[in-house]
């Protein structure tokens, strides 16, 4: 990269290090006392596992653990409160992290609808007052030196995905963690500069289950465990347990959404589009988000449906999923396991998958529809 002007990038805050975001989180934590978990009214269950509520295993590819871990926690909370909630995107968080030149000196930033969002921690910040877009609308582009801005669609939907308050520091102990998890609160946890999301415990094995943001080849399908001792002694895995946080969300409204699951040896091989049959509008590409360092195998996520879709999809205006296996990274091919659409409690399954998954080969194109 002979022509790479590092000074220009540094001046324009495009290469803002992860450490800035982590420092923000930790300095916030220093100012507050930890919140205690609610005292359980019943005996704690021997095992809690919130991972079934998190289908999308993220792969950061570079930096961003501070945001990916929060999105995992938030996704679980959304799914618990409102099933079939689309998975959240890191696009807004990364934009604000990289473009501090737009808001740090002004103490805040205007969203596209003209509202001013203060960066003061005493006042509601963007995740609280503005919200977050979702992956199908604003796919996360973590490694792109991105100086972009909100999209119109992302700005419109962000109001539906907001935190009710700033992230809240909690006491780090196995007892407190168990109490929070039993109260359906996954936990964002710092381990020596890396952040992960704790999603369950097994009191008999004395372990906590957590999801990382290194993709599903890491650990066991993206998950691993802490022992109770590693938490209580703060020894951790990466070098030492730091602060822990929980979030409270504003319960999102149900939106028409699609849940898609395919198995593969390399999910970046596959490209996905959603569209409404006979719609004059272009198909919406929902995967991938061009994160070439993503070496995960499978993709299982939930995205919002095209906004022109009239619910429910019927003959003549079916919901269509187009899949192409490019063969770019792998020749194994894959299988489409799930394609369903939902709006609240109204759930529709793809009939083509009723008898089992549909296999596809490298360089094959596939279309499935609902109905």
């Amino acid at each position: 990269m002979d022509n790479f002007d590092r000074e220009w990038f540094l001046r324009n805050d495009v290469l803002v290090s992860d450490n800035r975001a982590i420092k923000d989180i930790l300095s916030r934590a220093e100012l507050v006392k930890p919140k205690l978990a609610p005292i359980p009214v019943k005996l704690l269950p021997a095992k809690v596992d919130l991972s079934p509520y998190l289908r999308f295993i993220r792969c950061q590819g570079g930096e961003g653990c501070w945001g990916y871990s929060l999105q995992s926690v938030w996704d679980i909370m959304n799914e618990l409160a409102c099933p079939y909630s689309p998975n959240l995107s890191m696009s807004l968080g990364l934009f604000l992290h990289r473009r501090r030149d737009l808001w740090e000196s002004k103490g805040g930033i205007n969203s596209p609808d003209g509202r001013f969002h203060s960066s003061s921690y005493a006042i509601k910040w963007l995740d609280i007052s503005f919200g977050a877009a979702t992956e199908g609308t604003e796919p996360t582009h973590p490694s792109t030196r991105w100086t972009g801005n909100w999209t119109v669609e992302g700005a419109n939907e962000a109001d539906n995905y907001r935190l009710a308050s700033d992230i809240q520091k909690i006491t780090v102990s196995s007892t407190e963690f168990m109490n929070w998890l039993a109260a359906d609160h996954p936990i964002q946890l710092v381990d020596d500069g890396h952040l992960i999301a704790v999603v369950g415990y097994d009191a008999n094995k004395k372990t906590f289950k957590f999801v990382n943001s290194y993709g599903d080849r890491w650990g066991t399908e993206g998950y691993s465990e802490y022992t109770f001792s590693q938490i209580d002694t703060l020894s951790g895995i990466w070098g030492g347990i730091g602060d822990a946080f929980i979030v409270d969300i504003v319960t999102p409204r149900p939106v028409p959404a699609a849940r898609i699951w395919f198995k593969h040896s390399y999910r970046m091989n596959v490209q996905l589009w959603l569209s409404v049959e006979d719609s004059p509008l272009p198909k919406r590409k929902i995967w991938p988000a061009f994160e070439w360092a993503d070496d995960s195998k499978d993709l299982h996520f939930t995205v919002r449906l095209p906004s022109e879709l009239i619910w429910p999809p019927v003959a003549g205006r079916r919901l269509a999923l187009d899949l192409i296996d490019t063969g770019a990274f792998s020749e194994t091919g894959g299988e489409l396991v799930e394609f369903s659409a939902a709006f609240g409690g109204d759930i529709l399954k793809c009939a083509d998958l009723a008898k089992g998954s549909v296999k596809f080969k490298a360089r094959q194109q596939l279309r499935v529809t609902i109905p």
Binding site: N156, E157, N160, R253, P254, W311, G345, I347
Partner: protein, 151 residues
Amino acid sequence: MSNHQAFWIHGTSVQMEREGYFISKRRAGYAAVFKTYGSEWFHFAVPTPVILNGSYAKLTKVFVFFKTQGTAKITNVHVYSAGTKIYYQDNLSLSGDHSGQVDSSNSWAITSTPVAGLGIGISVCVDFGSVSTGSVPEIWFTTAGADFETS
């Protein structure tokens, strides 16, 4: 001798207060159809004869023809003359098919002192209900209107 006039507007002209991806909307020849959960306001702008035959017209009755499916119900009807609320009915629970002819669920007489209209707006709050299994609750709006008179 009083002079009566009636002005109506088709249901497809209704405006949602909040645009969003959480509401499925369809405008067809027969109605505007909305499906979602929770509560939303809808607004009709009724053509208003402010002056009729040289006299100020007074509003005497309003109408909103609708049909609900599932748990959707109308809970509030507010009537505005320009920016002033001149009539309201709250704590309603109106559901069913009232899309074809005038009945007690889709019409409201302005029984207090009739007021002059300066651009009438009829606002309707619909509670679609909470998420449950099965079809998404919906409401059809087919038409809305108002009666006026001059004395």
